[in-house]
């Protein structure tokens, strides 16, 4: 996974969103069937409230926010993973039926189903013998 640390200038006047977190690209599995495309993304620590899936023109973006863990006053002894936001962006083709995209978030895994428009599905053409 690549870790990009996003530095934010004081962009309040330009309306930029400011978050003081590192940014990470989540791991995804992408498979394509005849019906559509199945995308699964690992987003540990992201709850439904912190998840943003947006489609703008041809660009699909997945954003997940996590909250720092509640250590309840205990001292940190060993750290292997940090708190970070997730973001990944994909460009979709015209084959995807934008109205029928479904998304579910369970146990930190996002499952997206992007069905193909009817014209893009493979169709068997009847052959007549002449």
């Amino acid at each position: 996974m690549n870790i990009e640390t996003v530095k934010y200038q004081n962009g309040a006047s330009s309306g930029e969103r400011i978050r003081n977190q590192t940014l990470q690209k989540p791991n995804v599995d992408i498979r394509e069937t005849e019906a559509g495309i199945i995308l699964a993304a690992d987003l540990p620590g992201v709850a439904t409230e912190g998840l943003n899936v947006m489609l703008e023109n041809n660009v699909l973006s997945i954003e997940g926010h996590t909250a720092p863990p509640d250590a309840q006053g205990r001292a940190s002894v060993y750290t292997e993973f940090g708190t970070n936001d997730f973001r990944r962006v994909f460009t979709l083709s015209d084959e995807v039926d934008r109205e029928k995209i479904t998304a579910t978030l369970k146990n930190g895994v996002l499952q997206l189903f992007l069905p193909k428009v009817a014209e893009a599905k493979p169709r068997k053409i009847a052959v007549q013998s002449a």
Binding site: N27, V77, Y78
Partner: protein
């Protein structure tokens, strides 16, 4: 030039053994520059005098299939992460998520009480709190004037 040679190894061993996995393990990114999958799941540990909190990054598992066991001062997290198997008819574009069975042993700073371990699984993060064993708590010794 000094008349004596100084052997630094004992100091190094002290420092290296103070961290689970060794000193270089604190910086996995610098060591190889990429994610090291020999340790799964990734864990964070916090401790206080009374209990220890362990959080593991474990998205997409069935909590009933994960085994958390505490034996004296060793906490074990084991299980199997299942990722949908692609069928033969499907075209695979990306495969980045890991799957398979895992087992990780964590040595705690003190013995835990196996009856007082709690584990919750939320949003893909497994959170385990292990309370310290009563027999392991430090006891104040009264000094007699003799």
């Amino acid at each position: 030039m000094s008349l004596f040679t100084y052997n630094y190894r004992p100091e190094w061993s002290l420092l290296n053994n103070a961290f689970p996995g060794g000193v270089y393990d604190l910086f996995p990114e610098g060591r190889r520059g990429r994610f090291d999958y020999t340790k799964y799941p990734l864990i964070n540990i916090w401790s206080s005098d009374d209990d220890i909190l362990v959080e593991a990054e474990l998205p997409g598992v069935d909590p009933q299939q994960v085994e958390v066991t505490l034996n004296e001062d060793v906490l074990t997290i084991a299980g199997n992460r299942v990722v949908d198997e692609p069928k033969d008819t499907e075209i695979i574009h990306r495969t980045e998520r890991v799957s398979g069975s895992f087992s990780r042993e964590i040595t705690l700073p003190y013995r835990g009480d196996a009856d007082k371990v709690s584990a919750t699984y939320r949003n893909g993060i497994l959170r385990i709190v292990a309370a310290r064993a009563e027999s392991d708590k430090p006891r104040r010794v009264k000094i007699e004037a003799a």
